[in-house]
Symmetry: C2
C-alpha cells in the first residue's frame, strides 16, 4: 500500500510535531483507520513534503512527528494556463488535472463566448483549490496551482509579463500548429497559454491577444473539447518543450 498523504498548512509544516487540521485528522481516523505509529507523508501544496510518523490520533486530533523536510525545485518553465471559463464539470476536471501537470497558475478568462458568468467567484476558487488539494494527495505531486479569480481577457493580457513566452490556441488559425509554435517558447522562464472556451475566441479577441504578443496556433487533425485542449497544451509545454 502506498504511503498515506495529508495536506497541511504551509505555515504549519516544519520539523518537529505537526498537528493535522481537524478534517484531515478525522479522515485519518475514521476512513483510513490509521493508528499511532503509522508512517505518513505530509505535503503543503507549495512544493514542500515530509515523511513522518503519527504519534497521536484520537478524537482530539492528530499529531505527526516530522524528522526532515524536502523541497522540490519548481519545474521550468513556470506555466500559467488561462482557460476560457467553463462550466463546473469541465473546470473541476481541469482543477485536478492541471494540478497533476504541475501548472503554476490557473487564470480563468471571461470571453465573449464563455457560457458561465463570473459570479460566485469566491466559492469557485475555494472549490478548485479543494479539488487541487485532493489531486495532490492522490497523485503525490508537490505543488498545487494558484487559482486566480476569473478576469476579462484584457485584464489577463495586461497581466502577462513582457518577458514571458505567450501562446494563444485559436481554432481559426490557418498557418501555425502548436508543434510549429513550440520552438519559439524554448528557453522562456515563463509561459502563458490562452485557451478558448467552448466556441473559441472571436476574431476580435484573437487580434487583441496577438497585439499583446500572444502567438496564435492551432491543434490540427481533430477537434478537442475546450478542457481537453487545455490539458494538451499544459502537457505539451510541460513534457515536450
Amino acid at each position: 500500500m502506498s504511503l498515506r498523504r495529508f495536506l497541511v498548512d504551509p505555515a504549519a509544516l516544519a520539523v518537529g510535531e505537526v498537528a493535522l487540521a481537524a478534517a484531515e485528522a478525522a479522515h485519518a481516523r475514521k476512513v483510513l483507520r490509521l493508528a499511532p505509529g503509522a508512517e505518513v507523508e505530509l505535503i503543503d501544496g507549495q512544493g514542500r513534503r515530509a515523511r513522518g510518523v503519527l504519534t497521536r490520533l484520537d478524537k482530539s486530533g492528530a499529531i505527526v512527528r516530522v524528522e526532515a523536510l524536502e523541497e522540490a525545485a519548481p519545474p521550468a518553465p513556470r506555466l500559467v494556463l488561462c482557460p476560457g471559463l467553463l462550466k463546473s464539470p469541465a473546470m473541476d476536471l481541469l482543477a485536478a488535472k492541471l494540478t497533476e501537470l504541475a501548472v503554476d497558475q490557473v487564470r480563468p478568462v471571461l470571453t465573449r463566448r464563455a457560457v458561465p458568468k463570473a459570479d460566485g467567484g469566491g466559492a469557485k476558487l475555494t472549490r478548485w483549490q479543494r479539488l487541487a488539494g485532493q489531486a495532490l494527495k492522490q497523485c503525490g505531486a508537490a505543488q498545487a496551482p494558484e487559482f486566480v479569480p476569473p478576469a476579462h481577457l484584457a485584464q489577463v493580457l495586461a497581466a502577462a509579463p513582457a518577458s514571458a513566452g505567450k501562446l494563444l490556441l485559436y481554432e481559426d488559425e490557418a498557418r501555425t500548429s502548436l508543434a510549429q509554435a513550440l520552438p519559439g517558447l524554448a528557453g522562456a522562464a515563463e509561459v502563458w497559454a490562452l485557451v478558448g472556451p467552448e466556441g473559441g475566441f472571436t476574431p476580435e479577441e484573437a487580434a487583441q491577444a496577438a497585439a499583446a504578443g500572444f502567438v496564435s496556433c492551432r491543434l490540427p487533425h481533430t477537434i478537442l473539447r475546450a478542457e481537453t485542449a487545455s490539458l494538451v497544451v499544459a502537457g505539451v509545454i510541460r513534457f515536450a518543450l
Copy 2:
C-alpha cells in the same frame, strides 16, 4: 447554435436518403426537438462526414437527405495507445478523451499491477465504443478509435509491427524523458505507446518491453495518475511530434 450531429452506421452513410438508427431518431425528436427541414451533420466514426437536411422525422423514424460526403485524411502518425487496464471511471474518461485526441487504436494491457480483471471484456468494449461515439458527436472529430479487447503484455508486445515507433512510459526510467525520446519517433508512420496502470510496470515488464524494442522514457517534474499520463502521451505524439 452549432450543427446537430448524428452517428450513423458506416454502411448506411451515402449520398441520397439516409435513415437514422431508432435511438438517434428518438433523440432528434424528443430531446433535440428538431423538425423536418433542419440542417444536420452525419458522421460514421470512421472518418467520413456529411451535411444533410432532415426530410422526415416522426415516430416511425428519421430520414436525412445527403448531398455530398467528405472524407478526412487520417492524421499521421497512426497512433496506437496501450494503457494498463484501469477501473471504470478512468477508462471511461480515456475512451472519450482518446477519441478527441484522434488515437487510432486503444489496446488495454493486462499487467502485474493492473487492478481490474479482464472479465466482462465484451461489455467493456461496447461501453467504450458508446462513450467514444458520444465524444465524436460532442467534439465533431471524424473518427473513433478501434478498441481492442484487453490482452496480456506479451500479446500486445508481439502485436506491434517491427516498423512502428515504440514508446514505454516507465516511472523508474532514470535517464530519458519523453521530450528526449520524441525525436526518435520522427518520421514513423505508426507509433505504439505503452502506459502503465496505477502503480506502473514492474522492472520485469519494463525489461520485456525493452527487449521488444520499446524505448523507455518518463515524465519528469510531477507524478501523474495513469489516465492523465495516457492523455499526455497521446497529446504530445499527436500535437508536438
